[in-house]
Structures are given as structure tokens and as C-alpha cells.
């Protein structure tokens, strides 16, 4: 039938379309992007679901990610073992969440995980400091950083337990006017 794409079966593509916010074309493009990262590693046939992981060192070099201060966190959050090495599924997951179509709640959930550096399900003071340092490349002095973190906790910590829970974070981020437009990656 002249069907030239044999990377995925028809069903696989349909499933991916159901599970992500992408169209078939975009999925194929993402796959080729993924494949381009490690051409010798990733097979061109995914019909049998091979278990392939692309290491973070390669993921992080994507132009979409390479300038992002949180790229390591993003990769860790979306990878299976939290080490940043990604399978194709993780890869699709990541860009699906970061796509324009993803709803606020989903984005907020993953944003929380990204900013939760020590994976304790709370954004604590240390996480906040990490975030500020990454955002400003350490240009702020220690007092300034701590001041900023205190202010953030002051503003967003609803139950005054000295750390941001997912709920606090969602509560805050759902009102942010720029969140949806900034928390997405075009690919």
C-alpha cells in the first residue's frame, strides 16, 4: 500500500495519539528527533517495543533543552528511574506534558516535581534556593537568595508549615498569568 513508515504499527501510533497531545506527524517527528540523538542506539523499528534508553548526556544536548537551567530535573522527572536516561516513552511523555495542548493541572503537577529537587514531595527551602540559584546563575548574594525564598514561602505557603506542598504550589501556579505560556517547549 505504499505505507512507508514502519517504525510503529498503526495501533501503536493510535495509542500514542491517545496518550499524548500529539498528532501522528508530530509523533513521527519526535521519534526522529529521538532517533537522531543516538542513531546507533535507537533502532528504526519500534513495533516490538525494544527497551532502549538514551542517556541524559545526549538528551541534554537537544537545542530545546540545552539552555534550560532545569534540563537535568526535567529529564530526571520524566525518566523511569530518576536518573535522566530516557526511553522513547519517557521522551514522548516529556514533550507531551510540555506541549501547548497540555492542561494547566498536568503542567502544574510536573512543574512541582521539577522544582522539587530532593523528591520529598514538598518544595522546601533548599529546593527554593536551588531554583533561584539556577535561575540567576548564582548572581544573587546569599542574603538575597534567602530573602527571595522567604518571600516565596510567605506568599505561597498556605498552611504555614515552612514548605510548599503540591496543593500550595497548584494554588499559586494556577493563578500565574504566564505559567501556561512559559511552561511549554515547542518541538
Amino acid at each position: 500500500m505504499g505505507n512507508k513508515q514502519t517504525v510503529f504499527t498503526h495501533e501503536q501510533l493510535e495509542e500514542y495519539q491517545d496518550c499524548t497531545f500529539f498528532t501522528r506527524k508530530e509523533i513521527m517527528r519526535l521519534f526522529y528527533r529521538y532517533q537522531d540523538l543516538a542513531p546507533q542506539l535507537v533502532p528504526l523499528d519500534y513495533t516490538s517495543c525494544p527497551d532502549v534508553k538514551v542517556p541524559y548526556e545526549l538528551i541534554g544536548t537537544m537545542p530545546e533543552l540545552k539552555d534550560n537551567p532545569f534540563r537535568l530535573r526535567i529529564a530526571q522527572v520524566f525518566s523511569e528511574d530518576g536518573d535522566g536516561h530516557m526511553t522513547l516513552n519517557n521522551f514522548l511523555d516529556m514533550f507531551s506534558v510540555m506541549s501547548e495542548m497540555a492542561p494547566r493541572d498536568l503542567k502544574a503537577y510536573y512543574a512541582f516535581k521539577i522544582y522539587d529537587f530532593n523528591n520529598d514531595d514538598y518544595i522546601c527551602m533548599w529546593d527554593l534556593e536551588q531554583t533561584v540559584t539556577k535561575l540567576t546563575r548564582g548572581e544573587l548574594s546569599a542574603e538575597e537568595v534567602s530573602l527571595v525564598c522567604e518571600k516565596v514561602l510567605d506568599e505561597a505557603d498556605g498552611d504555614h508549615d515552612g514548605r510548599l506542598s503540591l496543593e500550595d504550589f497548584q494554588n499559586m501556579i494556577l493563578r500565574a498569568p504566564d505559567f501556561l505560556s512559559t511552561f511549554h517547549i515547542r518541538i
Binding site: 498528532t23 501522528r24 540545552k66 511523555d93 522544582y115 530573602l147 500565574a176 498569568p177 504566564d178 512559559t182
Partner: protein, 899 residues
């Protein structure tokens, strides 16, 4: 054979139903718990259970003919187990025993002909009920009601699954889980879809499902297609990733403008220009379509054409070319009427589209004013633009974030100091004063130049500069004033975003002032021409009269008509106005392109290549690369559009020129930005100011509507050119059409409507409506604010509760478990209340959210084996298929009672 798949499907349906009813064995606790709790449905559950594995196999795509045998085996095993259970359970009532009998008979029936299965399921159920009814007179009604309820429950579950499928992409799960869940859910739905159809409706149901599937697929494909059809999407994405969303917003605006102009172009081209060219009188047949004798020699010179004189002036691009014939061609197309209506609808369409896009823009941004409480949080969590894919932009972003943090810190620390307020105020007043001076000066300059150009136009051989002085001066002002304003604005020390708005407003005022001065001067010109018109009209008449009545011609032969080129004619002020606008547009375009070429591209080349042999670092030092000037470009675009709106009535071809301009500038500017600009030092977001642009556009649209409306309503059209020649006013064409083409009563109605006695009340009514709607919207927004407050209060209450609740969760879960076991015992004693207990069970599990559900389950499972002998275990044959890891997980969720 045609029956087979259906029967299997039913089996599958029945099997799955049975499994779900008996509480899927995937999770041991429940499957163990439920049978004892509600024995009534068990009877049917058995038949279902037998179907279970077969159904599964069928779903896997291998329908096996020998499945019934295996089913029987399982069947037996099941019943044995059930019997054990019954025996071992102390609280066993007689009814339960009776049921066992019923089941035994059932088994016999099932073992007999396979055909039984192929009977439509509904009937089978009925049979079952019938068969059972003599022995189970008391419980039959309960069973029936339950089966209905079961159906409803399954339906609910299927709906839930479907919802899960459609919302799968919204779940925060890793892909592997999503995939297995999806497969699970799809299988589930597939199995049950058949079961849910009732009798005849089933095929229809299946058909409908098929159609919905097809429809979804079609929609998906259509979406794919639609995204492909958006022009320049990749280019703009490219720019966005390099320069941030603010620069991209200009290009998106440009694209939007291009779309609008294409529609306008289609309107004008299709309804005015093409009919005139195809069906109107050909070129050279009448004076207005002919180049006058005096201009004929130079009419094809490039210098003349470049000024839109000569042949271009007497072409369909301009108002003067159109004939005042009421109808043209075999279509009897009413061209003057069409011309007028198209002129009106250009404005109507533009107004509509601008307001619509403004409305759709505002719909998104409802959450304004809430951000005051979260300045630092927003800065921390939303300031990084994940779109940035360019190290330069990233560097700038880092810097801007750092500075914004610092600014906020400083604001925070010194918010109550307000030290130099007087100085700041003084500086701001001074800056505004300076800028007003600039504006006045530029306005005067233009007025002066326009006046002078009118004098020049009276003189003979004027130089090129003198002819184009107006355009040159206006372009120069447009080029040099904005940077001047920016310099002055530095005095004011505003926040950059506010500063940008001020800057936009000032440049807007400058452009507007220039435009209106230009228009006033033009109007003077028009009035001058109009005053001369009467004289020329007389001359024309006189010439024609002389020509036809002069002596020295053979009277017997009728004189050939005077050659159209020789007829003296008026100045046709409409065409003159049109030419002015076209010239302005073209010169504006050229100046823009030249500025980009010289100011951006050559500068970039110079900086790039001379940097190797220069005393200082050119890239970092003085000239460096140019930034993309968003405000200037956007305003240029807006004013250009205003020019188009004003000019399109007098120069129908102007829109075509503008479409070309927008098209070229799209490619040209995309190239220029990517090749020779650097990202902004302060990467600011333009998402919010988009509506600001639109507001400016609306203002310009309104302002450009005024002069056109004025000329249409109060100036008499030229007597010898254009579609309205010979009429007193241009809008007379409507009256003419109403009188001649519509039945008389319509004419009367129109006359009645045009009566001021009706118009004034109508206007009053509109005002009242506006007032009313305004007050309604105010109350609504107040209610909205109150609701928001309430929600916030609720949230806080919830939060405080939750912290209390969190501690009590463990205790809660144990209570639930105990409650459910109690339920179970109750159900064992009185099967009539099975449905009640079920709902109770639901309630008991209801509060368990996804997080606490696991918490409730664990104690339950540890609790149950104590209350029940260890013999009652889910049967191993059944547990077999459920060892599939994903499956058991999904089953757990499927089994969860619908909330």
C-alpha cells in the same frame, strides 16, 4: 458462522460482566468479600464467570471452539468453591441454599446445547429468571432489580472507561502505565459495548460506536490538516525560540493582518475590479478611461508611472476609472451600488474581525489582579521561558531574571521610602513637555510641507524632491522621532513595561498627528479642486458644444464623436486622494525595507566583518547588532493598515498592493530578524500587550473611518469620473437602487426607516441597551469576585481540615474496613438488602480518594482473612490471567466503585 462472533461477543460480555459483578478476582480481598455480601447476583455471576476466560481469549483474537469445555471445568471449580464458601460461612440462610439449587439446574442447562449461548443475551436472562422464579419466588424480584442495576453500573463503568480513554493524555502517569491502562480500558469498552446494546438497539449502538470512532479519527486528521495549513508556522516558531514570544507576537500579528487583508482583497477584487474589467466598457472608450492628450507622450515613462500617473492613474486601480452606468454586462451587475456596498463592508468586516479577536483575547485573561500576592513566587516559578532554545536569549533571560529579582528585592525593601518623588515628578512632567513640543513641531512641519507642496503642484517643472517632499518629511519624522522619544523617556524612569506602553502611545500620537495633518492638508486640496470643478464642467460642455456645432463639416455625414482623449476633464479629486494614499503606502514600504537593509543588515555585516580589524570590540561596544524594534514595527503595521482603510475606497487596487507588501515583508523581515538582529536585552513578554495592539488598531480603524465617512456624506463626487459621477452625493446610489430595483412598498419602508423620528429613538434605545448590558456585566463581575472570594475561603477551610484529616486517615481507613465487614455480615443475613449494602459499601469507600484508597485497602485485606476461613480464596484458575501486571493494576481501578 455469521452467528458465531456475535455469540462469542455476548459471552465475552457476559463473562466480563460476571467478573465485574463478583468483584474482580484481581484483588483478592474484594472478590473474597463480595460473594458473601451479596449472594443474589452470584447465580448469574457463575454463568458470567464461565465466560470470563473465553472472553479474554476472544479478545486476544483467537476464538476457540473448545472453550465451552474449559468453561465447564472452571464452572465446576467455581461452584465447588462457592459451595465450600457457603458451607463454611456460618450465617447461611435458606434462600442461599435455594439459590444453590437454582444454580445446579442452571449448570445442567449450561452444559446442554451450545446454542443456548447464541440466543440473544437479554432473552437468556429472561429465561434464567423464568427458570429461577418458581423456586426463588421471593428473591426473584431482588435479582431482577439487581440485574437492572448491574446493567446501569456496567454502563457507568464503561462510560468511565471511555472518559478515561479520552482523558488518558491528561493523566500524570508515565507512558508505560498510560499505555497499559489505555489498552485495558479499550479492551474493557470493547467487551462491554456489545453487552450494553439491548436487543435490536445493539446493532445501532455498535454502528454508533463505529461512527464515533470514525468521527474522532476524522477530527484528528482534520486537526492535523489544519495545523499544516497555518502559513509560516515553522518560521514563527523558529523566531519564537530565538527571540522569545515578544518578537514572535509581532509576526503573529503580521500574519493575522495578512489574513484580514486577503479577505478585504477578495471582497474588493471579486466584487468591484473584476466585474468592471470584464463587463465594463473597455479602456479608451470614454474619457474617464483614457489618458488625456496632453499626458499621452509621457504616460508610459517609468518616472511617471512611478508616481502613479499616466496609464496607472487611468486604470482600474483607481476610483476615476469606474463608469457610472447603472448596470453593466449581461449580468446587469449594478456596479456603482456594488462599489458603495463593498466600501461599506470593508469597514464593517474590519470592525467585526478586530472586535471579535479582541473579545477572544480578553476571554483568556480573567485572572488579572490576583497576581499581586505572588510576585516572588511567579518570578521564581514562571519567569523562565521554557521556549528559549538559544544561548544568547538564555543569557539575556538569566540577566533579566536576576535584575527583576533584584528590582523586586529593592522594591520590597524600600517600598515605603519614596525618596525622590519630587524629582521624579519633575522629570516626568519635563519629559512629557518635551515630547509634546516634539509632537507639535512635527505636526507643524508636516502642515507646512503639505502647504508648500500645494504651491509646488501649481508650478510647472518641479524637481523630484519638491514633488516628494511630503512623503520624505513624513518618513524622516517617523524614523527619527521614536528614538528621540525613547531618549527622553529615559528621564522618566518608568518600569520598562509601562515605559513601553508610554512609548507606544507617544509614537502613536506622533503618527496620528502626522496622519491627520496630512489628511487636513489633503482636504484643503480637495476643496480647492472642488471649487474649480464648476469651471471645468462649463469648459467641457462648451468644448463639446462647439465641437458638434462648429461649421466647416459636411452636414450630411454625422460627425464622429470627439476622441475621448481630447475631452477636457475635471481634476477628479477622488483619484487624487487615492494616488496620495498609494504613494504613501509604497514609500512607507520602501523606507521600511531600506531601513532594515541599512540599519540592520549592513550594520550587522559591518560589525561582523570589521570586527577583525577595528580598534575596539564592535560586537560588544558601540554599534553592536540591532535589536528588533517591536513597538515601531507594530505601530508601522497598524498605521499602514489605517492608510489602507482610508485609501481603499478611492483606490480599490490599494488592498492588492498591501497584500503584496505584507507578503514580502513577512519573508523579508523573517530573514532580516534571523540574519542580523540580536535578541532583546530585556526579554519581555508580549502576550498581554496583544490586546493593546488590537486596541490601537481599533482606534486607527475608527479614526480612518471618519474622513472616509465625511467625504462620502458631505462632498459631492466629481462630475466626470468614478461610479457616482452625476449624483449629488455618493450615497444617492442607495436611494436610486431602492427606488428603481425594489418594489415600491420596500422603498416606503426604507423612507420610513430613514425618518429621524425613528432613528433618534433607535439610537436612544441603543444607549439604553448599552447602559443595561454594562450594568449587567458589572453585577456579574461583582458576583464573580464574590464567588472567587468564597472559593478561596472554602479552600482555606479545606486546607485546615485536611491537615486534621491527614492525621486521622489511618484511623479512618480501619473504620472503613470494619464497616465493610459489618456490611458483609448484614448482607449475608438478608440478601434483599444487598443493593443497600452495596451502596453502603460504595459510601464507605467513597471518601477514600486515590491516595487514601490504597490505605483503605490494605487494612481491609489484612482484616478479612481473620473473619473468614482461609479456604475462601480467589480461585487460581482465575487468578491466572490476572498475573499480567498492568492488567491487575487497571482492574483495581475498574473495580473501584464509580464516584
Amino acid at each position: 458462522m455469521s452467528h458465531r462472533p456475535q455469540g462469542l461477543g455476548e459471552e465475552a460480555g457476559g463473562g466480563a460482566r460476571g467478573r465485574s459483578r463478583s468483584g474482580s478476582p484481581g484483588t483478592g480481598d474484594r472478590s473474597g468479600r463480595r460473594p458473601s455480601r451479596k449472594p443474589a447476583p452470584k447465580a448469574e455471576g457463575v454463568t458470567g464467570r464461565c465466560g470470563g476466560p473465553a472472553g479474554q481469549e476472544w479478545a486476544k483474537g483467537s476464538p476457540r471452539p473448545d472453550s465451552p469445555q474449559r468453561k465447564q471445568v472452571e464452572h465446576k471449580r467455581h461452584r465447588e468453591e462457592l459451595g465450600k464458601q457457603k458451607r463454611s460461612t456460618a450465617r447461611r440462610t435458606r434462600e442461599g441454599r435455594k439459590k444453590k439449587n437454582g444454580k445446579a439446574s442452571l449448570k445442567e442447562q449450561r452444559a446442554s446445547p451450545k446454542k443456548e449461548k447464541e440466543v440473544p443475551k437479554k432473552e437468556m436472562w429472561k429465561q434464567l429468571k423464568k427458570r429461577r422464579s418458581p423456586s426463588l419466588a421471593s428473591s426473584a424480584s431482588a435479582g431482577e432489580s439487581l440485574s437492572e442495576e448491574e446493567l446501569a453500573r456496567i454502563l457507568e463503568q464503561v462510560e468511565e472507561k471511555k472518559k478515561l480513554i479520552t482523558h488518558m493524555r491528561n493523566k500524570p502517569w508515565p507512558m508505560a502505565k498510560k499505555l497499559t491502562e489505555l489498552r485495558e480500558a479499550q479492551e474493557f469498552v470493547e467487551k462491554y459495548e456489545g453487552a450494553l446494546g439491548k436487543g435490536k438497539g445493539k446493532r445501532l449502538y455498535a454502528y454508533r460506536m463505529l461512527m464515533t470512532k470514525k468521527w474522532i479519527k476524522f477530527k484528528r486528521d482534520f486537526d492535523n490538516f489544519k495545523t499544516q495549513c497555518i502559513p509560516w508556522e515553522m518560521k514563527i516558531k523558529d523566531i519564537e525560540s530565538h527571540f522569545g514570544s515578544s518578537v514572535a507576537s509581532y509576526f503573529i500579528f503580521l500574519r493575522w493582518m495578512y489574513g484580514v487583508n486577503l479577505v478585504l482583497f477578495g471582497l474588493i477584487f471579486g466584487l468591484v475590479i473584476i466585474p468592471e474589467v470584464l463587463m465594463g466598457m473597455p479602456y479608451g472608450s470614454i474619457p474617464r478611461k483614457t489618458v488625456p492628450r496632453a499626458e499621452e507622450e509621457r504616460a508610459m515613462d517609468f518616472s511617471v508611472l512611478w508616481d502613479f500617473e499616466g496609464y496607472i492613474k487611468y486604470s482600474a486601480l483607481f476610483y476615476g476609472y469606474y463608469n457610472d452606468q447603472r448596470t453593466i454586462g449581461w449580468l446587469r451587475y449594478r456596479l456603482p451600488m456594488a462599489y458603495f456596498m463593498v466600501g461599506v463592508s470593508v469597514f464593517g468586516y474590519s470592525l467585526m474581525i478586530v472586535i471579535r479577536s479582541m473579545a477572544s483575547n480578553t476571554q483568556g485573561g480573567t485572572s488579572e489582579g490576583e497576581g499581586d500576592n505572588f510576585t516572588f513566587s511567579f518570578k521564581m516559578f514562571t519567569s523562565w521561558d521554557y521556549l528559549i532554545g538559544n544561548s544568547e536569549t538564555a543569557d539575556n533571560k538569566y540577566v533579566s531574571i536576576t535584575t527583576s529579582f533584584k528590582e523586586s528585592i529593592v522594591d520590597e525593601q524600600e517600598s515605603n521610602k519614596e525618596e525622590n518623588i519630587h524629582l521624579t515628578r519633575f522629570l516626568r512632567v519635563l519629559a512629557n513637555f518635551l515630547i509634546i513640543c516634539c509632537l507639535c513641531g512635527s505636526g507643524y512641519l508636516i502642515y507646512f510641507v503639505v502647504k508648500r507642496s500645494q504651491e509646488f503642484s501649481k508650478m510647472q517643472n518641479v524637481s523630484w524632491y519638491e514633488r516628494n517632499e511630503v512623503e520624505i518629511v513624513m518618513s524622516l519624522l517617523g524614523m527619527f522621532c521614536p528614538p528621540l522619544f525613547e531618549t527622553i523617556a529615559a528621564l522618566e524612569n518608568y518600569h520598562p513595561r509601562i515605559g513601553l506602553k508610554w512609548q507606544l502611545g507617544r509614537i502613536f500620537a506622533l503618527f496620528l498627528g502626522n496622519l491627520y495633518t496630512f489628511l487636513l492638508a489633503l482636504m484643503d486640496d480637495v476643496h480647492l479642486k472642488l471649487s474649480n470643478e464648476e469651471k471645468i464642467k462649463n469648459i467641457t460642455h462648451w468644448t463639446l458644444f462647439n465641437y458638434y456645432n462648429s461649421s466647416g463639416w459636411n452636414e450630411s455625414v454625422p460627425r464622429p464623436p470627439l476622441h475621448p482623449a481630447d475631452v477636457p476633464r475635471g481634476s477628479c479629486w477622488e483619484t487624487a486622494v487615492g494616488i496620495e494614499f498609494v504613494r504613501l503606502t509604497v514609500s512607507d514600504m520602501l523606507v521600511t525595507y531600506i531601513t532594515i537593509l541599512v540599519g540592520d543588515f549592513l550594520r550587522a555585516c559591518f560589525v561582523r566583518f570589521m570586527n577583525y580589524c577595528w580598534c575596539w570590540d564592535l560586537e560588544a561596544g558601540f554599534p553592536s547588532y540591532a535589536e528588533f524594534d517591536i513597538s515601531g514595527n507594530v505601530l508601522g503595521l497598524i498605521f499602514n493598515q489605517g492608510m489602507i482603510w482610508m485609501g481603499s475606497f478611492y483606490a480599490p487596487g490599494l488592498v492588492g498592493i498591501n497584500v503584496l507588501r505584507l507578503l514580502t515583508s513577512m519573508y523579508f523581515q523573517c530573514w532580516a530578524v534571523m540574519s542580523s538582529n540580536v535578541p532583546h536585552e530585556r526579554v519581555f513578554k508580549a502576550s498581554r500587550s496583544n490586546n493593546f495592539y488590537m486596541g490601537l488598531l481599533l482606534l486607527v480603524l475608527f479614526l480612518s473611518l471618519l474622513p472616509v465617512a465625511y467625504t462620502i456624506m458631505s462632498l459631492p463626487p466629481s462630475f466626470d469620473c468614478g461610479p457616482f459621477s452625476g449624483k449629488n452625493r455618493m450615497y444617492d446610489v442607495i436611494q436610486e437602487t431602492v427606488e428603481n430595483d425594489f418594489p415600491t412598498f420596500l422603498g416606503k419602508i426604507f423612507a420610513f426607516i430613514a425618518n429621524p423620528g425613528l432613528i433618534i429613538p433607535a439610537i436612544l434605545l441603543m444607549f439604553l441597551a448599552i447602559y443595561y448590558l454594562n450594568s449587567v456585566s458589572k453585577t456579574l463581575s461583582r458576583a464573580n469576585a464574590q464567588l472567587r472570594k468564597k472559593i478561596q475561603a472554602l479552600r482555606e477551610v479545606e486546607k485546615s481540615h485536611k491537615s486534621v484529616k491527614g492525621r486521622a486517615t489511618a484511623r479512618d481507613s480501619e473504620d472503613t474496613a470494619k464497616g465493610s465487614s459489618k456490611n458483609a455480615t448484614k448482607a449475608g443475613t438478608m440478601p434483599h438488602s444487598a443493593s443497600q449494602s452495596q451502596t453502603l459499601g460504595k459510601k464507605a469507600q467513597g471518601p477514600g480518594t486515590s491516595s487514601s484508597a490504597s490505605g483503605t485497602m490494605l487494612p481491609a485485606s489484612s482484616h478479612l482473612p481473620i473473619s473468614r476461613p482461609a479456604g475462601i480464596r480467589p480461585d487460581p484458575g482465575h487468578a491466572g490471567p490476572q498475573t499480567h501486571p498492568g492488567r491487575s493494576a487497571s482492574r483495581k481501578s475498574a473495580q473501584r466503585p464509580p464516584h
